[in-house]
Symmetry: C2
Subunit: 365 residues, 2 copies
């Protein structure tokens, strides 16, 4: 079977305020990608829109805006990992031979309904994600001695990375003290431990092995895919709050499709919705031993969240998984500018949904 390549990628600047609709936001990175091929006729066989916003047949609306007529048009949601789910669908359609090309676009606005989990009554009145993040943080601190300063260091690192990313929402460097002194929201989580829901859109263009050379000299290959769903209710996600079960399962599945081991990874975009989630992900993705995540923050062998992660770049829910993938593609192609990680050969994307209810992992090379 043909391999599946990502041959182009683009992301918009993420913003706090925007008058644009989801469909208008979505068009921006798509137009920039299509512009690269304006001198020849290319056909987009599938357009898949990832969003948590409620726009009926949004993918068809975007196709009309873009002036394309894809055979297949779908809007897709699985909360915060909608973006990588859309990539999985596009991968499957190409790998199966049903499509040659697919454009995946993730887009969301700050006011999306995806930010509060009103269905999950196991959360009581605590519908905002910060409550579960606080529980994970407390469990890890108690069991492994992880400190608030270690969590703060995650934010410092990701904000420092975002300083070099002109599309990032937060480009001001901060210190551990800044994080520690920021407003305590739900102990031990403080304001600067959190990512920020914002407006944004990102897109990638995928094609099969045969067609890839017609688009780029440096295709990025999807080598591994892992996905796992645990539950929708927070109370059913895990009986042990010191790790994310769905992330462990998804990464195991993704690694099993490749010969690439965790210690061979060069660059990673992982789902740091809160600083503690980055520490858990280090462990659940196999980059450090269980319980050692707090200390792993200070390592410098592996580049983690070079674009600034969700904390530095902002978190437009349906766009995030695509934006993470755009960054890994730019790194593997060697076009990441000031953020470029040296000698990038293998990269990983980790995209999670509500309290670890589900996780998706992509391994790219």
């Amino acid at each position: 079977m043909s391999r599946v390549a990502i041959v182009d990628q683009c992301t918009s600047a993420f913003t706090k305020d925007s008058d644009l609709s989801v469909q208008e936001l979505a068009c921006d990175p798509c137009r920039k990608i299509l512009e690269h091929y304006k001198d020849r006729s290319i056909e987009i066989d599938a357009l898949i829109l990832s969003t948590t916003s409620d726009i009926q047949y949004g993918s068809t609306i975007i196709s009309e805006y873009l002036g394309i007529k894809p055979a297949i048009s779908q809007r897709l949601d699985n909360l915060c990992n909608s973006g990588t789910n859309a990539i999985v669908s596009a991968y499957s359609m190409i790998k199966s031979g049903l499509c040659k090309t697919a454009l995946v676009v993730g887009a969301d606005i700050r006011e999306t309904k995806g930010t509060k989990l009103v269905w999950d009554i196991s959360r009581g009145g605590f519908t905002s994600p910060i409550y579960w993040a606080a529980l994970f943080a407390k469990a890890h601190m108690r069991r492994y001695g992880t400190t608030e300063e270690q969590m703060a260091s995650v934010a410092v690192k990701n904000r420092k990375n975002a300083f070099l990313n002109r599309n990032a929402l937060f480009r001001k460097k901060i210190s551990v003290d800044d994080v520690m002194n920021s407003k305590k929201l739900v102990g031990p989580i403080k304001m600067l431990d959190c990512s920020y829901i914002c407006n944004g859109a990102s897109a990638i263009l995928l094609t099969n092995e045969h067609e890839a050379k017609n688009y780029t000299d440096c295709p990025v290959w999807i080598e591994g895919i892992g996905s796992s769903t645990e539950a929708a209710s927070f109370s059913n996600v895990s009986s042990d709050l010191s790790f994310i079960q769905s992330t462990k399962k998804a990464s195991k599945m993704a690694y099993s499709m490749t010969n690439i081991k965790p210690d061979q990874m060069d660059v990673v975009e992982l789902h740091d919705a809160f600083t503690i989630m980055e520490i858990l992900a280090y462990e659940d993705l196999g980059f450090c031993q269980k319980g050692k995540g707090g200390r792993f923050v200070s390592q410098d062998n592996l580049s983690i969240n070079p674009r600034g992660g969700l904390i530095g770049t902002g978190h437009p829910l349906g766009a995030t998984g695509v934006a993470q993938t755009v960054e890994i593609c730019e790194q593997l192609k060697g076009i990441a500018g000031k953020r470029q990680v040296k000698d990038c050969k293998s990269g990983l994307v980790h995209n999670m949904s509500a309290a670890g209810s589900s996780s998706l992992v992509l391994i790219l090379s």
Copy 2:
């Protein structure tokens, strides 16, 4: 590459009134399917929910209700052909080797936002689908002499078929006079020319060629898939209102994947949102010559909409494409009871979205 089989199928009774939520409705046919395999452990690798209703991560919620942990969980929308789009995604995931099994469920409630196309300002104040159906009807009548009585005959046939379908919403037989004398809504469309948006849910279980025998002695194979998107705005769908461009393209693509010709088809479920749409579909799917659709209603070589179509069964938007597929599967397996079409070997599903903005065709055997 492995073929993809539909190995089980189930539909709920469609209703006008229901206190059930979309996710509760969706569980009913899924539970009945899973019940068939309660004596052994089966794993569902993907659960794809088709709905136009706005339930964030609805597929993950349904997975929790069902007590399953699918690797992949997605909610998907493309208005009225969301259902067959979900089947296309499941097909792709299995065909590509990423999944072994997928459960596709379509579900919607009568109050879904999918019934009004508020984004499409090219419709002016005419956001309800009946306005475009009236334009198609007038064009076909003017150009080909199609009559209101011929349209009425579509409703009579589909209601007669629905009489034998215990899950159908409308089980009372009607006459051409009944249709002609029913309230004129938007000339020439009358009340009984219309399908009715309702509550309902349908599900199918798919797997690969190797696994199929573990589920059934009579797998139904997905032989052809065709899909086409024209536009989102009614004004851009077609400059010629006497046919549906997206249906013509989708059927051509589906037929090209198989050796099955239109005249070899034994049973068809097509998208009769309004009676005129069935007449257009006869022509656009290749069952009769252009302009002859009106007269084709009275043919009896090919069984069309044996469950009663959308007009007889009801139209729960996100469920419809799955419900159509359930019917064709039951016919091909020879388990359609009183509705059984003799010697069924090949069947076709035609599922359309908003004014023919996009169409999807499946060919099954």
